[in-house]
């Protein structure tokens, strides 16, 4: 089907475009930007007047909960959420049950996702068997099955020799290793940042050095092994400083931050709001400011949703017992727009953090609107206000710390490979 998206404000970070330009799509690909190619006859015209036409969002961390946690969410429900959020490509961490440590599981997931023929699902394989941090998985086989990177998700890997070997092995094949820096001894039993709020609330705390110690280990091992390291979910000012220094020294490390940490701090825990129980913990206002500065100067490459949908019971508990995490696929776009407005950042730069940049982390030719690229497109209204109401979210998980917040930016069309997969009535 040939689609002509007209009158929209086209924003494409890769080609540095922010201008009113039409987009022409044929056979699932972008065939022209600006004026129609000769002989182009549109089967469908989308009038994007007043709307922004951007690459579909690329999310580095979206838990789809399959296999094993279907009571929390299903592939269907979460892909629906992704579509509603304008997310057309997403990486899912291996923390399923069983974890994504066998090619068969990965193939099944890819197959299920393909059958939905909506968002592109990119599994991140387990770095160690059952995420136990002891034995390596068959990374090459897993990559053949469709894994785009390897990670421990939130599971600890305390044995530094295993980590060294895992990174060496990954480096052999040029695979990316994605690690969240958190020393498991220092983080033991902790549920909140070791600061003022945890002290007032009497919550077991996780100090910043849990992040920096783990980070220094993984940076040293990346240096040693030459492995491609991607640092997941940075949370602290000290962590940002370390990544900045490592990059200045020429280490090819990349990193991301969750949208929750861009907007929230320990203060949001308030009277023990279990929706603010997140991992890594929400840190101080100073840390949040440093994360934002890191995004601005390029130290932090990408913003992810860190989507973790949950059943209601998982959060209906006292703070420490409530499961950590928040649903987020549908909030990624509005929260990036909110951040861009607050920091006065041009949209072309802000959207790069959720399109072009994460696509590069995934090693994908995606997240841009170049001629010849797959037509994964997000058309959104940047002005419309809407209130985050958990009941109205498509995600099966209703757990969000942004409950009740008025946000701006609503997706009008989501296209995957030239097919309109989401277009809400009015």
């Amino acid at each position: 089907m040939n689609i002509h998206i007209k009158n929209g404000r086209l924003i494409d970070p890769k080609n540095k475009i922010d201008a009113q330009q039409d987009l022409f799509i044929a056979a699932g690909k972008i065939v022209a930007v600006g004026s129609a190619p000769s002989g182009f006859v549109a089967d469908k015209i989308i009038d994007a007047g007043g709307l922004i036409v951007a690459p579909g969002l690329v999310d580095l961390a979206a838990r789809l909960r399959e296999p094993g946690y279907e009571y929390k969410a299903t592939l269907e429900s979460e892909i629906d959420a992704a579509m509603a959020g304008g997310v057309t490509s997403l990486a899912c961490p291996p923390d399923t049950d069983p974890p994504l440590d066998e090619p068969g599981l990965v193939e099944m997931l890819k197959h299920r996702a393909r059958n939905l023929s909506q968002a592109h699902v990119y599994p991140v394989g387990a770095l160690t068997t059952a995420l136990k941090g002891q034995e390596l998985t068959e990374m090459a086989e897993l990559a053949d099955a469709g894994c785009v990177a390897f990670s421990q998700a939130d599971a600890p890997l305390t044995d530094t020799r295993v980590l060294l070997r895992a990174m060496q092995y990954a480096a052999t094949f040029g695979f990316s290793v994605w690690l969240r820096p958190q020393d498991s001894f220092l983080a033991r039993d902790g549920v909140a940042h070791d600061g003022e709020v945890a002290t007032r609330c009497g919550l077991p705390a996780i100090p910043v050095c849990a992040e920096t110690i783990a980070l220094s280990t993984m940076l040293a091992l990346a240096q040693e092994t030459g492995a491609k390291l991607h640092v997941c979910r940075l949370s602290s000012a000290a962590g940002v400083d370390m990544i900045r220094a490592a990059k200045q020294q020429g280490l090819g490390v990349t990193c991301d931050v969750s949208m929750n940490h861009v907007h929230l701090s320990e203060m949001d825990i308030g009277f023990f709001n279990p929706n603010c129980h997140l991992m890594p913990p929400l840190r101080s206002l100073r840390d949040r400011a440093a994360l934002r500065a890191g995004l601005l100067d390029g130290t932090i490459n990408a913003i992810c949703s860190n989507h973790a949908p949950m059943d209601e019971d998982a959060k209906q508990l006292p703070f420490a017992e409530a499961e950590a995490g928040a649903t987020g696929l549908e909030l990624l776009l509005p929260l990036v727009l909110k951040w861009a407005r607050e920091e006065n950042i041009p949209l072309v730069g802000a959207l790069a953090k959720v399109t072009l940049q994460p696509a590069q982390m995934l090693g994908l030719d995606a997240g841009h609107l170049s001629v010849g690229a797959a037509a994964d497109v997000c058309v959104f209204d940047p002005e419309t206000y809407w209130k985050v109401e958990p009941g109205a979210l498509k995600s099966q998980g209703k757990n969000t710390p942004f409950n009740g917040l008025e946000v701006q930016g609503r997706v009008r069309y989501t296209l995957v490979e030239g097919q309109v997969v989401y277009h809400p009535a009015a």
Binding site: D194, G195, E196, A198, T199, R200, C201, G202, L203, P204, A205, P207, G270, F271, F272, D313, Q316, L317, P318, F319, A320, E321
Partner: protein, 317 residues
């Protein structure tokens, strides 16, 4: 953010913490507690019919004999019907969630819950989920708060020192894990105590504790210098396993309250302890039983203060 322990008229709906508790309400509780004590000797407590026909449920998810008993006595002196539920970990091990337990208890038509739970924030959680006419009293939640203990400590201080605005108070011991210390600090600063000190080794102090409005001392002889009130904290024996301390002996040597260290305080200083005491670990017997110890008065006053809290809550709809 709405203060979860006040109702729409600004009256006490639940007692969850001393943090953010208006000073007027705090003083009202102390004044009301005084009315329950016999004027003649200041210690005898009369029975009154203020809670007749009301039922008070003591819901303890964590074992406690002392606190539960004082709440029970307080409720009975107010003529309430008292139900004690020692839930421990039993109902959760049977698969019942805290929310289910609370729902079940509400269905039994309790007027007031006295709750103790091992998790910080559990009392807030329960208060959020009870029927709107039920009152919740926090009898200790994790490391977070133990407001009735702090209020009875304030009552005791006022009884012996009359005023708060001219006092220097030292809290000694395991501040990191102590809900009592947190509640004491908020109560003391709310009531206008100009100098609150905390004395402990660094392993027993939470991050940025100074932000609560206290001065930190690691040396007990310096920290006790010229203080009017010494509030001792209980040291749990498991602290030795968690690498917080090397031994009880070393702790006693440097942070145990002895006559010698107490000599640094003002001559009329009083010594308090929330109990149960570990003699020879945080406090020497000669101090615990000595002339400056008011520990037994704390127990008696605790009943009056809990009566004051319960009767105040019952009067607020």
């Amino acid at each position: 953010m709405k203060n979860p322990q006040l109702n729409k008229n600004g009256e006490l709906q639940h007692l969850l913490t001393t943090e953010g508790l208006p000073v007027k309400i705090m003083r009202d509780i102390l004044d009301r507690a005084a009315t329950f004590l016999d004027a003649a000797d200041g210690h005898e407590i009369k029975k009154v019919p203020l809670l007749q026909g009301k039922s008070v449920f003591n819901v303890f998810f964590e074992n406690s004999t002392r606190t539960r008993t004082t709440f029970e006595i307080a409720a009975k002196r107010l003529s309430a019907d008292v139900v004690n539920l020692n839930i421990g970990s039993s109902s959760t091990s049977k698969g019942e969630t805290l929310l289910d337990t609370v729902g079940n208890l509400c269905a039994m038509h309790a007027d007031m819950f006295v709750v103790r739970h091992a998790q910080s924030g559990a009392a807030h959680f329960i208060a959020r989920h009870v029927a709107p006419d039920v009152h919740v009293i926090n009898a200790g939640d994790g490391r977070h708060a133990h407001p009735t203990q702090a209020l009875l400590d304030m009552f005791t201080i006022r009884h012996y020192k009359k005023e708060f605005h001219n006092l220097r108070v030292a809290i000694v011991g395991d501040m990191l894990h102590s809900r009592v210390a947190r509640s004491q600090i908020h109560a003391l600063t709310t009531l206008g105590v100009p100098e609150v000190r905390v004395i402990a080794p660094k392993t027993l102090l939470p991050a940025m504790v100074e932000n609560l409005g206290v001065r930190v001392y690691h040396d007990m002889t310096q920290g006790l210098h010229d203080v009017d009130v010494v509030l001792m904290l209980r040291l749990q024996s498991e602290r030795m396993q968690g690498a917080a301390l090397p031994s009880a002996q070393e702790y006693f040597k440097y942070y145990g309250l002895t006559e010698e260290k107490l000599a640094r305080a003002r001559p009329d200083a009083i010594v308090m302890h929330p109990g149960p005491m570990n003699r020879g670990i945080e406090i020497d017997s000669s101090v615990a039983d000595g002339p400056r110890s008011v520990i037994m008065s704390q127990v008696t006053f605790g009943i009056a203060v809990r009566m004051a809290v319960m009767s105040m809550l019952a009067g607020n709809k």
